[in-house]
Structures are given as structure tokens and as C-alpha cells.
């Protein structure tokens, strides 16, 4: 419209900031309100609780972020997460090393097969990982005798320390998230893999014509996503000292929601790693506040769905404002 170029620049910058950091603004406001409203919210115990509870989804969503950077999607992570947990708990009777190696090997293999079918076979990520969701859940049912077996981690096993221990007073899962997101940010900004992934999402044909290793990068992305989902499973098996077969249903949707809330476009080609972490924390804080209000569990879904819709609609309007 008829505004001076200078004002357009400022408005566009503000709009871009709000689009990228909208979830952060909502998160901060929500935390401030919650801290004012409940004495129990801003306690170190509750905040630690939120962070630990969020850590599993955070690890899964990190892998999803890179998949979505390439313009793909990974619907299998919820099942792979559950499978990783069950395999870790099962293998923990043979030692901590086995409890780490078995789930990561199996989950990595699932990611590799998915990645190869997508990148080399040219099939839609949506449908391949949808099949992966079924496949991993089927494997899990095989391992657990149709979900009837819950494997327990032996008492005194060092494996329990992985998610139950703490360093410098900070619980291990929080450290794991901090380290993984630091690595993720470095990979995105300091290695050639990061720009390659974004270029694939931006325009795959162009990325290929530029000679970027498109197929390899795509395969790697799905392997990483499955490995991270499996790692989250290992973490939760260690945290709960057992392999629960029924977890992870709908987790892929939570992970996608977190990535979208973090300002990453599902079309790929743009986004941030830390935004995803903000999205995960926002979902977890909502859950925590609903608990504090002692409302029915169902409100959690209603509020999360509403905020997700509100944020993406706002993002669209802000993106339009930016273009003007």
C-alpha cells in the first residue's frame, strides 16, 4: 500500500521477527502469567519437571526439524520412539552397552530404509514414513507379544543412570537436549550439510543442478530422525526403568506441531533449530499450566490445537505483511 519505503522496511522487519519468534513471545508471556498466577509454577522443582518432561519430545523434534528443512516429513518417529524404548529396556538385561546399541541399530536401520526408498525410489516421504509408522509399531508388537510384555530395566543397572542421573545439579535429559541442540545448530550453520538440507527444501532441482549431494543428504536426514527418535526412546526407557509399549502414539504430530510453532515452514527451505526447542517448551508449558489449573486432560489438546492454529494463521498474515 501507500507507505514510505522506510516504514515498509521497519514493518517488514517487525513482521519477520514476530513470525520467527512468535512462539517465543507466546512462551514468555505464558510463563510470566503462569508465574504470577501460581506460586508453584516458577519453582525450580516445577521448571525442572517441565524441562525433563519436554526433553523426549525435544530430541524427537530435532530430527523432525531437519526432515522438514528438506521439505519432507517423518510420520514414523512416534512408533520408532516407542520401539527404541522397548528395545532398550529389553536389551538392558545384557548390559548398558547392549541397551544403547540394539535400539539405535534397529531404529537407524528403519531410518536408512525409509531414506533410501524416499531419496532413491522417489516415493513421497508422507506415505513411506506412514508405512514406517505401521512397520515400527508392528515390530514393537512382535517384540512385546502384542503389547502384553513390559520389559523392566534391572535394579541397579547403570542404564538407569542415563536419564535419572544429574551433573552439576542438572538432570541428564536436560544436558542431552542442550548438547544435541548445540550440535544441531552447529550442523545447520557450520557444516556443508546444513545449507545442503535447506537448499533441498528450497528447490530440490536447483540443489541437484548445483551438484549438491541431494540423495545422500536426504537419506542422512531420515537416518538422523530415526536415530534421534530411538534415542528419545532409550532416554524414556532409562527414565521410567521400563519399556512401555503404548507410548508414542501421536508423538509424530506433536513433533510436527513443535517444529511449526518454532517458525519452520513445512514447505522446507527455511527455519531454525532453536525455534523447535521453543515450540516443544511451549507445548509442555501449556500441559503444565493445564495441570496446575487442575482442568481435564482434554483441555490440553484443545489449547494446543487452538494455539497451533492461531500461530500458523498469524504467521501467514505476518508473512504477507513482510512481503508488502
Amino acid at each position: 500500500m501507500a507507505v514510505t519505503p522506510r516504514r515498509v522496511g521497519t514493518a517488514a522487519r517487525a513482521a519477520r521477527l514476530a513470525q520467527r519468534q512468535g512462539a517465543l513471545v507466546v512462551l514468555v508471556v505464558l510463563c510470566l502469567v503462569a508465574a504470577g498466577a501460581f506460586d508453584t509454577f516458577a519453582t525450580s522443582g516445577n521448571l525442572t519437571n517441565i524441562a525433563v518432561q519436554a526433553s523426549f519430545l525435544a530430541v524427537i523434534a530435532l530430527g523432525m526439524t531437519f526432515v522438514i528443512f528438506t521439505g519432507g516429513i517423518d510420520l514414523s518417529v512416534g512408533s520408532v520412539f516407542a520401539l527404541g524404548g522397548v528395545l532398550a529396556a529389553y536389551a538392558s538385561q545384557y548390559g548398558t552397552l547392549a541397551a544403547l546399541a540394539l535400539p539405535l541399530a534397529v531404529c537407524g536401520a528403519i531410518g536408512l530404509v525409509q531414506g533410501l526408498i524416499i531419496a532413491r525410489g522417489g516415493l513421497e516421504p508422507f506415505i513411506v514414513t506412514l508405512a514406517g509408522l505401521l512397520f515400527a509399531r508392528g515390530l514393537l508388537l512382535l517384540v512385546t507379544d502384542s503389547g502384553r510384555n513390559t520389559y523392566d530395566v534391572p535394579v541397579g543397572s547403570a542404564f538407569r543412570e542415563i536419564a535419572q542421573g544429574s551433573i552439576l545439579g542438572v538432570r541428564h535429559p536436560i544436558w542431552i537436549v542442550v548438547v544435541l541442540y548445540a550440535v544441531g545448530t552447529l550442523v545447520l550453520h557450520r557444516t556443508s550439510y546444513g545449507p545442503t538440507v535447506l537448499a533441498i527444501g528450497g528447490q530440490r532441482d536447483a540443489a541437484e543442478l548445483m551438484g549438491l549431494p541431494v540423495a545422500r543428504a536426504r537419506v542422512l536426514t531420515y537416518v538422523a530422525s530415526a536415530l534421534l527418535a530411538g534415542s528419545a526412546g532409550v532416554m524414556i526407557a532409562s527414565y521410567t526403568s521400563s519399556g512401555v509399549p503404548i507410548i508414542g502414539i501421536g508423538t509424530e504430530l506433536q513433533a510436527i506441531a513443535a517444529v511449526v510453532l518454532g517458525g519452520t515452514l513445512l514447505t522446507g527451505g527455511a527455519g531454525t533449530v532453536l525455534g523447535t526447542l521453543v515450540g516443544v517448551l511451549l507445548l509442555q508449558v501449556i500441559a503444565n499450566v493445564i495441570n496446575q489449573l487442575s482442568l481435564a486432560q482434554a483441555w490440553q489438546a484443545v489449547v494446543q490445537g487452538t494455539i497451533l492454529l492461531g500461530v500458523v494463521v498469524a504467521q501467514r498474515y505476518l508473512a504477507r505483511a513482510e512481503r508488502r
Binding site: L123, I127, G138, L141, G305, R316
Partner: protein, 337 residues
């Protein structure tokens, strides 16, 4: 056949197509490629039926066939709506939650009479579809995100509304769920009617042509002056309505509604049926009969495996492999990278 597609050069004519005028030369028949892509799902379905005729005792009995059809009907009804949405290049993840919400409302409104309850349930489907369609078409949010938000939120609303499992004792609804018309269950009749209506709308009306045009190339459709936003909105309304129909039928058949579990993962079954039926996720093409065959194939596959004494685990593993194989046969060879 109910195959509709926009003439995209990559799909219809390979690079070798001659540009000379005159009668078009007959394209060479390639049994492995185009033929398999087009009829693969029917062949697979036929094969599975044949296998069942041999190995499953009592397969060809009225009661078994009726059971199969009754079970597949809600999935098929949802898949038809999904096929239209996918035809526009979109996706509707909210259908499972819409099923749950519409079914949950039935016991709550049954006091006003069964027709009122059904109308409320269907109206909710239309309303949620209109919301999804508006957010997708007018605001421009990606379909997968918009309907994902609805999936999460509407399931929450359904759980709030139906805080416990509620039985349905209304005789009219029970009749709807268990009654038959000339030996055919009403549920199956509804699925057949829905199939015919969707087939007619897509194949014989302007709206159907516009729908595949929008899916084939949205910009071109907009530049050609098609009412893109109205078409996009209406497919989500149709999908929401069909999901609500499935919800009503499920509530009537099960005679009880559990808002937490009803319609769980129905979106994935519907998408699978559509894609296995030969409709590409990229849009611009809808295969209605393929979707019917896809839904039947998946239903028969799982019931066959269960009849053979296989566990859920094996059933899911086989389904996963079949889905990838089916999609690979139909779409994998188009892009060889």
C-alpha cells in the same frame, strides 16, 4: 473409469510424443508400466479374493461378505472425502477427530430425537470442514498444518464433550446401524451412495473438473478464472461432512461412543486407501473406483491375515510392506533418482 487428470506433460505424454498433426498414433502398450499403474490395485484385489477363495473357509458366505463390507464402509466414506482433498493437492488429517466429535454429539443430543442428533453431528462436520477450508483457502495455511491443529483440538473437544463411554439405546439409530435394505446393511448402502455421488460430482460436473484443475496447477487455475478458493473450501467441507457421516454410522453400529478411541488413526487409513488406489498425493488426479478398491484391498488384507491366525504385529508389518510396494509400483518409476 473414474479417472480424471489434468493433462500434465510428464504423466500423459513422454518426450517422444510426435508433434505432427493428424490422427494420434496408438501409444505402445507397456504391460509393466502404465498398465500396472492403472489397474494394479484391481489386480491385487482380485488376487487377494482368489487366494481367499482357496484358503479361507466360508469366505464366500453372505455373512462374511456382509461383515467385510460393513467394516470397510466407514473407512471408504472417509477415504472418498480424502480423495477429493488429495485431488486438490491437499490433505485432511482432521477426519479421525471429526468422526469422534460427531459421534460423541449423538448421545448428547439424542434427547431431542434421532434426526436432530444426526443433523447436529453432520452440521459439526460441515462446520469443522468449513473452518479447515477457510484457513487453507483464504488464509493460505498449508493443509497438513491446518488440519493437524484441528486433529489435536477437535479430539480434545470430543473428549471434553464425551467424558465417558456413552451407550446409544435409541431404536432408530440402532436400526440404522444394524438394519438392512433388501439384505444390504444401511451402512453399506450409505457407502455405495457416497461413492456414486462423489464419482458423479468428480466426473460429470464442473466442480469436479475445477477440483482436479486446482490440484493440477493452482496458479494456472486461478489465472484461468476458476473460483479456486471456493473449490478448495468446498472439498474440506465435503471431507468434514463425509467424516461426520462415518461418525454417525459408527455410532449407530457400535451402539456406544468412546470419544478417546473412535476414529483414532482413521486419517491414516483413509490416506492409505486413497494412495493405494492410485491417486497421487501431489494432486491433479482423483481415482474414485481406485479408492474403493484400495479400501477393500486393505480391509481384506487385514481380515485375511487375522483369519490366518496372524497377530496384529504381523498384520501391521505386512500392511506396511504392501503399502510401500503398491505406491512404488504406481508412482516410484516416474521419478528415477
Amino acid at each position: 473409469m473414474a479417472e480424471l487428470s489434468t493433462p500434465t506433460p510428464s504423466a500423459s505424454a513422454p518426450a517422444a510424443a510426435p508433434a505432427e498433426p493428424g490422427p494420434e498414433p496408438r501409444p505402445r502398450r507397456r504391460l509393466d508400466g502404465e498398465w500396472l499403474r492403472r489397474y494394479g490395485v484391481y489386480v491385487a484385489l482380485g488376487l487377494l479374493v482368489a487366494i481367499n477363495l482357496v484358503i479361507t473357509p466360508n469366505f464366500l458366505t453372505v455373512s462374511n461378505l456382509r461383515l467385510q463390507l460393513v467394516q470397510v464402509s466407514p473407512v471408504l466414506i472417509v477415504a472418498l472425502g480424502m480423495a477429493m482433498v488429495i485431488g486438490t493437492g491437499g490433505i485432511d488429517l482432521s477426519v479421525g477427530a471429526v468422526i469422534a466429535l460427531s459421534a460423541t454429539l449423538i448421545p448428547l443430543y439424542i434427547g431431542y430425537g434421532p434426526l436432530v442428533a444426526i443433523l447436529v453431528a453432520l452440521a459439526v462436520g460441515v462446520a469443522t470442514g468449513a473452518l479447515a477450508g477457510t484457513v487453507v483457502a483464504r488464509v493460505g495455511v498449508q493443509p497438513i498444518v491446518a488440519t493437524l491443529a484441528l486433529l489435536v483440538g477437535l479430539r480434545g473437544v470430543a473428549n471434553l464433550a464425551g467424558d465417558r463411554i456413552r451407550p446409544i439405546r435409541d431404536p432408530f439409530l440402532r436400526g440404522l446401524g444394524t438394519g438392512t435394505l433388501l439384505g444390504v446393511p444401511y451402512v453399506v448402502v450409505a457407502a455405495v451412495v457416497a461413492t456414486v455421488v462423489v464419482w458423479f460430482v468428480l466426473g460429470r460436473t464442473t466442480t469436479g473438473r475445477q477440483l482436479v484443475a486446482v490440484g493440477g496447477n493452482l496458479r494456472a487455475a486461478a489465472l484461468a478464472g476458476l473460483p479456486v478458493k471456493r473449490v478448495l473450501t468446498s472439498v474440506y467441507v465435503a471431507s468434514g461432512l463425509l467424516a461426520a457421516v462415518a461418525g454417525v454410522l459408527l455410532a449407530a453400529r457400535l451402539q456406544a461412543v468412546n470419544s478417546a478411541s473412535l476414529g483414532q488413526l482413521a486419517e491414516l487409513s483413509a490416506i492409505t486407501a486413497v494412495v493405494v488406489g492410485g491417486t497421487p498425493l501431489t494432486g491433479g488426479q482423483v481415482r474414485v473406483l481406485g479408492t474403493v478398491a484400495g479400501a477393500l484391498l486393505l480391509q481384506l488384507l487385514s481380515s485375511t491375515l487375522i483369519a490366518q491366525g496372524q497377530s496384529d504385529a504381523v498384520t501391521q508389518l505386512v500392511q506396511a510392506v504392501i503399502v510401500v510396494a503398491a505406491v512404488y509400483v504406481q508412482f516410484g518409476s516416474r521419478r528415477t533418482r
